[in-house]
């Protein structure tokens, strides 16, 4: 297949994805009324990520795109991961102090 040719996606696929997204939205709303403790955010973001993946793969045709386009998408997600992970490296350790792992005596020795 040429890189420039358009892949024709059948309307059935679009409809299936559309209803999957609607179902995801419904699950998000239902989950919002339940308290899962610290998993609240994990569940909400998990559903959102799955929906975004469907949009990118099917509505944005990433599944049918050339390898190079897919590589660009993966790189973009990787860059987002860098931003989130290194930012979280600050937030997740903000309350800790070096004295937890290094004895204060060693830390403040002249």
């Amino acid at each position: 297949m040429s890189e420039h040719s358009e892949h024709i996606v059948s309307p059935i696929v679009y409809m299936v994805i559309f209803f999957a997204l609607i179902a995801g939205t419904t699950v998000t709303v239902l989950a919002a009324f339940q308290n899962f403790g610290q998993f609240n955010i994990v569940i909400a973001l998990g559903i959102a990520t799955a929906k975004a993946t469907l949009v990118v793969l099917y509505f944005m045709h990433a599944r049918y795109s050339p390898r190079r386009t897919q590589l660009v998408i993966v790189c973009a997600v990787f860059w987002l991961a860098i931003m989130l992970a290194l930012t979280l490296s600050d937030y997740q350790t903000r309350q800790q102090h070096l004295s937890r792992i290094v004895p204060p005596a060693a830390l403040y020795r002249a």
Partner: protein, 560 residues
Amino acid sequence: MSTAPLVPEHELPDTHYLNATYGSGRSIRAWLLTTDHKRIALLYLASVTVFFFIGGIFATMIRIHLLTPGGALVSPETYNKLFTMHGVAMIFFFLIPSIPAILGNFLIPIMIGAKDLAFPKINLLSWYIYLIGGCFVLYSFGTGGLDTGWTFYTPLSSIYSNSAVTPAVIGIFINGFSSILTGLNFIVTIHTMRAPGMTWFRLPLFVWAHYATSLVMILGTPVVAITLLLAGLERMFHLGFFNPSMGGDPILFQHLFWFYSHPAVYIMILPAMGVVSEIIPTFARKPIFGYSFIAASSIAIAVIGFFVWAHHMFVTGESTYAALAFSFLSYLVAIPSAIKVFNWTATLYKGSISWDPPMIYALGFIGLFTIGGLTGLSLACLGLDIHVHDTYFVVAHFHYIMVGGAVMGYVGGLHFWWPKITGRLYPKALSRFAAIVLFIGFNLTFFPQFILGYLGMPRRYHSYPPEFQVLNVLSTAGASILAVGYLLPMLYLFWSMRYGKVAGPNPWPATGLEWKTDSPPPTENFHVTPVVDWEPYDYRNRPDLGLAAGGPLAPAHGDD
């Protein structure tokens, strides 16, 4: 002694991109609607130069104000606005677009043997977006100014500042798209439009540097655009993103801002490194040492540059663990930077060096960038950073990178390719003198600031203790010399456009594909699509350059 010219007199080609007729002929309209990458580069040259002068005027006022300990010129509030507007104009509207949008735009298609960029209309669109963003920022400057610092830290920018933050933020948001589109255009062009034989490892290092720069532009710019928009939304609609009283986090702004703005330093310096990589082998008459290492180090700088941003935040409340990680990662960036410096130096070794004006700028770049880079390592050191954080040491460090590095590269690149852009040579003796004036003025301006910072003079203060006056006067004196160093090239380059001697296609002579076409080039860049069958910078095996193998540089036509 014979006065006969060593090379024949050249004449300008009959038709070239400057006089070619497009649609409505040679009118203003033909320029404003052009899709020729070379003309768009000149449009950028004009508009970027305007911003350079606006930023330069603010810098001049800052330095005059700091002549006396109490401040000689403006009120403290106005002083805050001066350094902010200097930073915004210089960084977002001069440094970031300077080399990529002018030299990159002009040269990348010619260097790879293409007729234009991949998306010529998008290229023109990016210039208009730049202008629209610039108008918003100028509106902000003219209606109350801007006093947040170019970093727009919240909550100052989003709550407390009474200055015109909103139009400035909107202007920078808009301008970001110009940068993204330029980067996109370069990447697609380099991937898809190389001439037959122009393999990846025959690409000029200038192109490699712009490829790396484009990656940073595309991956980083959206983040700062959205971040500034969020700060604007918080300011306009009181949405709590960064304001703690509304559930936001001010440090989050700094994380997001520096995620782009530190890599943005590499948007500014990588293209300048590309320029230097072209100039050094040309005037040392040698193949560049370690081609693949220099190419790979550009990509390495672009990638590692994304891992270091929070070294700007060591004392703003980030966790000690994160600071340790970012300190370590920041040291890593020094490795690819050092690879470049060592390779340029090795290229000079036993080279047949000539002191043409571009070479003086390139050598100046190597020295000043090295000082700027090494002092950057000092700042990446957690302990030392606490001592010199927010002092003039930081100001001196980043001006050594930005002005000593990026601007020296930009002016050097203009001198190197000016004969290609305009078809004419400038007076060489005068331009050598200007380069040396610029080098001396720069060092006199910024070296005292290292000492001031180490002694404890904070940045962004409108007054200082009297014992710092001598060094401040030295710095201001240097700034006036530096201004002469910038004005001189402006004058003689402008003069040369009409009165300079005709350069001919390859005045230096150099090996790149851009020197194989006319000066100025025709609209389609080459009369016949070139086929590349030589290695880059192969000064030893290019008899067509008219040089003895490894021999000295033939006196360029028009030397005075």
